[in-house]
């Protein structure tokens, strides 16, 4: 599909991902067993540039917008959930890296333009102010793509010289200065390797510190009026919406597989073929429409993020709150579609040899990422629609 909203080259990247699908599907079970995406898949994705969707062009990246991130996440998700999560989370971490001063970007990509970054926003880090930066200690769970990244962005609370809280911040730290613990034992998304990182009194220079308050208002330390528009988009809206990319892809993968097997029979009925059942046909239609609706909302959401960025405007609160609501809404629709499709397909969906049960578990776990939970998005949007200004009492992350 040719679409003028896409940056140049993204369509060809999507085509390359489609061509890799058989390989990614073949490695999915092993990746889950290993709790780490197998290196062959990572290498193949790296070779076509799938981890460089958001990297600035000056390092050879696609410099892609939020729409590009979602399309890439979805394309990989059509093959495997865990692999898609690793790709999507690496690309969002690379986008965040691109918001730091150029010196920090050079630290990461100057010598190795294929360097990958992981990200955990939770502000678990405790800091002390020192000459030229901060010293940080802390522990962060859920670092997706931790097996493949050489840098990490980690949340912390900044203090002044007297130890008084100043702001939250995201710190960019080389993995060589962090300790790693294998803690990711979860019912789904097993191959995402979302393990734990520790910092023990690590020095972080000022140019690798991104303060939270300005970021929430669209002001990033590495951007100015000449910065490409994709790096001036809304912080939380981009961080939030890209999480639906794998979801959309997994939903399509389930639909693809259930349709492909629709010639099987239905237990305890006279249907020799599921496809002969009108009730089954209705299920397929409803599930496909749920996924179509999710796609359409994702398009609308990215449009509301990418277009203001191109115009140099920062979206207002209502728009940002609505964007958080879109995400929960999209995820709910994908969850319902998958649930319906597995019921239509029947108990065979749950055999361990069937990729459907892995896609189901992967999507279900991703659907409970704290950032996509529908209740919060709806509460923020509802408060904003009512003209109330108490959204910040629930969360400042809008």
């Amino acid at each position: 599909m040719v679409d003028s909203n896409l940056p140049p080259d993204i369509p060809s990247l999507l085509k390359s991902i489609d061509e890799l699908r058989p390989l990614l599907e073949r490695n999915a079970a092993q990746s889950e067993t290993d709790r780490r995406v197998v290196q062959e898949s990572i290498d193949a994705l790296e070779a076509i540039g799938a981890f460089r969707v958001t990297q600035p062009a000056k390092y050879g990246g696609y410099q892609g917008n939020s729409r590009a991130q979602i399309d890439v996440g979805a394309a990989v998700g059509r093959a495997d959930g865990g692999t898609a999560w690793v790709v999507a989370l690496t690309n969002i971490a690379n986008w965040l890296t691109s918001l730091y001063p150029e010196r920090a970007q050079d630290d990461v990509w100057g010598d190795d333009p294929d360097a990958k970054v992981s990200v955990v926003l939770a502000t678990n880090g405790k800091t002390t102010r020192v000459e030229g930066g901060y010293r940080v200690s802390g522990e962060w769970g859920y670092n997706s793509a931790s097996w493949h990244s050489s840098w990490a962005i980690l949340g912390a609370e900044l203090v002044d010289e007297d130890g008084n809280f100043v702001d939250t911040a995201q710190l960019l730290i080389p993995r060589s200065e962090l300790e790693f613990k294998d803690t990711w034992y979860v019912a789904g998304m097993r191959s995402s390797g979302s393990n734990t990182l520790y910092a023990k009194d690590v020095f972080v220079p000022d140019h690798r510190v991104m303060p939270g308050q300005p970021a929430l208002l669209g002001s990033y330390p590495g951007t100015d009026d000449d910065t490409p528009s994709v790096y001036r988009a809304g912080w939380i809206p981009v961080l939030n919406i890209i999480l639906v990319g794998p979801q959309l892809g997994i939903g399509r993968a389930v639909l693809d597989r259930v349709i492909a097997k629709a010639d099987k029979g239905i237990a305890y009925t006279n249907f020799a073929h599921q496809s002969d059942s009108v009730a089954f046909q209705l299920d397929i239609a409803k599930a496909a429409l749920l996924l179509d609706a999710a796609d359409a909302f994702a398009l609308r959401a990215t449009d509301e993020i990418d277009r203001p960025a191109e115009l140099g405007a920062y979206p207002d609160y209502l728009t940002r709150a609505r964007n958080r609501a879109y995400v929960g809404w999209i995820v709910e629709h994908v969850s319902r579609a998958i649930e319906m499709l597995l019921t239509a397909h029947g108990s065979g969906s749950f055999a361990e040899v069937n990729p459907l049960q892995r896609l189901w578990r992967d999507q279900a776990v991703a659907a409970r990422h704290a950032f996509v939970l529908p209740a919060l998005g709806y509460e923020l949007y509802g408060k904003a629609l009512l003209g109330r200004e108490d959204g910040d009492t629930v969360t400042p992350l809008v």
């Binding site: 059942s277 749950f350 189901w360």
Partner: protein
């Protein structure tokens, strides 16, 4: 809701299930890894009298009503989904033996009420009549829940006469030693149920171990003929078999709601200012919706059970309209629990998916159980919907009404 009085025996079993709940919960993770219930779990259930639920009274069983069978499976499933499912299915197997001729009942329970019988209705086999009576049967049946612990199996088999012409579908009783066993149960949920495969190679099935589906669908059972038989077994064939699957769902739903509620006053909501989930009104609304879905499931399940049991007591067979509605209602029970469990997992958040959390096991177990062929929502809707729309007392989709 009005609780019908439980016979003292069943009340006693339910009390003992509560006592062994910590043990069953404690062993659930290991049982899942080993893909069957271990001896301490099975022994605790057996000692509690759980597996006597469906056994006819004259063999020392409890001859439980449909409602009571649901209660027992539900109570066990509150501790663990896999154990609850095995309970429901082995009790179903024992109960269905009560429909077979007395000679077969004697063979199974003559030595005591603690004989376990697995049950698998799908006719994935062929049986041919032999001279002098009975059939020779070959076939392979998957999904024999509780097979690890059973010494008899109830298996679906299409019957053919000696000229090879189809006679009727049937379920037959076969001793475990006549069957080969294949370890095939590798599934994302209900792992501990050991729902493995049985294979029969040309085994002899005597006539008294054959229950024909045609008459059974009209409420005509060779084992329920006259004086001395328990009224409990005069139930409608398909409604009863389907209802025996519901208790485990209700119990898993109860457990998930209890666990999510218990965590709410101390668990925060990530990336928000809520220090306690219980302070969040969206969380409260989700909890209310899920609880109402479970309440509705419970009402449907017990309404179906009481309708079955009342008819059995009165010696009447449920008419087609009632049976068609039963298929719709019972499937709705399963759909409701599925929706509630999913919503509760969302309300609780990502921690529920950690392998160390019992929630994710309940979630996988219930989701897998929800796709059992007999409770699939589409079939329930098709059966009930066609009757509503046409009033016709037959359905091209399935004769199993």
């Amino acid at each position: 809701m009005t609780e019908q009085a439980l016979v003292p025996d069943i009340a006693g079993v339910l009390g003992r299930i509560e006592e062994i709940t910590p043990l069953i919960r404690h062993r659930a993770a290991g049982n899942e890894t080993n893909r069957h219930l271990d001896e301490p779990t099975i022994e605790a259930l057996r000692a509690a009298g759980v597996f006597r639920t469906g056994v006819p009274r004259r063999f020392g069983g409890l001859a439980a009503t449909t409602r009571e069978q649901i209660d027992v499976a539900r109570a066990v499933a509150r501790a663990d989904g896999g154990a609850g499912w095995v309970t429901g299915l082995l009790n179903s197997g024992a109960y269905v033996v009560g429909w077979f001729p007395h000679e077969a009942q004697e063979e199974v329970f003559g030595s005591g009420p603690d004989t376990h019988v697995s049950i698998m209705l799908a006719p994935s086999s062929k049986a041919s009549a032999v001279e002098g009576g009975g059939y020779r049967m070959s076939g392979e049946w998957r999904y024999n829940s509780g097979s690890w612990h059973s010494s008899w199996a109830i298996l679906g088999a299409p019957l053919h006469d000696d000229a090879g012409r189809f006679e009727d579908n049937a379920i037959v009783l076969a001793p475990r030693q006549d069957l080969e066993y294949k370890d095939t149960w590798h599934v994302a949920g209900l792992k501990s149920t050991g729902s493995n495969s049985f294979v029969a190679n040309d085994i002899l099935v005597p006539e008294h171990r054959v229950l024909r589906v045609g008459p059974a669908l009209r409420g005509d059972y060779p084992g329920v003929v006259g004086q001395g038989d328990d009224d409990t077994y005069r139930t409608a064939f398909i409604p009863e078999l389907e209802a025996q699957l519901l208790g485990a769902h209700l119990g898993m739903g109860d457990a998930v709601l209890d666990l999510v509620r218990a965590a709410a006053p101390t668990k925060s909501i990530a990336y928000t200012t809520y220090r306690r989930q219980s302070d969040s009104i969206p969380f409260q609304l989700e909890l209310a919706r899920a609880a109402l879905l479970l309440d509705a499931a419970e009402l449907f399940a017990y309404r179906a059970a009481d309708e079955i049991d009342d008819a059995a007591r009165n010696g009447t067979y449920l008419d087609y309209a009632a049976r068609a509605r039963q298929r719709g209602q019972q499937a709705q029970v399963v759909s409701n629990v599925r929706s509630a469990v999913d919503a509760l997992m969302t309300a609780h958040g990502s921690a529920g998916f950690a392998e160390s959390s019992v929630l994710q096991r309940f979630w996988r177990d219930q989701a897998t159980a929800a796709r059992h062929g007999l409770t699939l929502p589409d079939t329930g809707l098709e059966v009930y919907g066609r009757w509503l729309a046409t009033g016709e007392e037959s359905n091209p989709v399935t004769p199993l009404v």
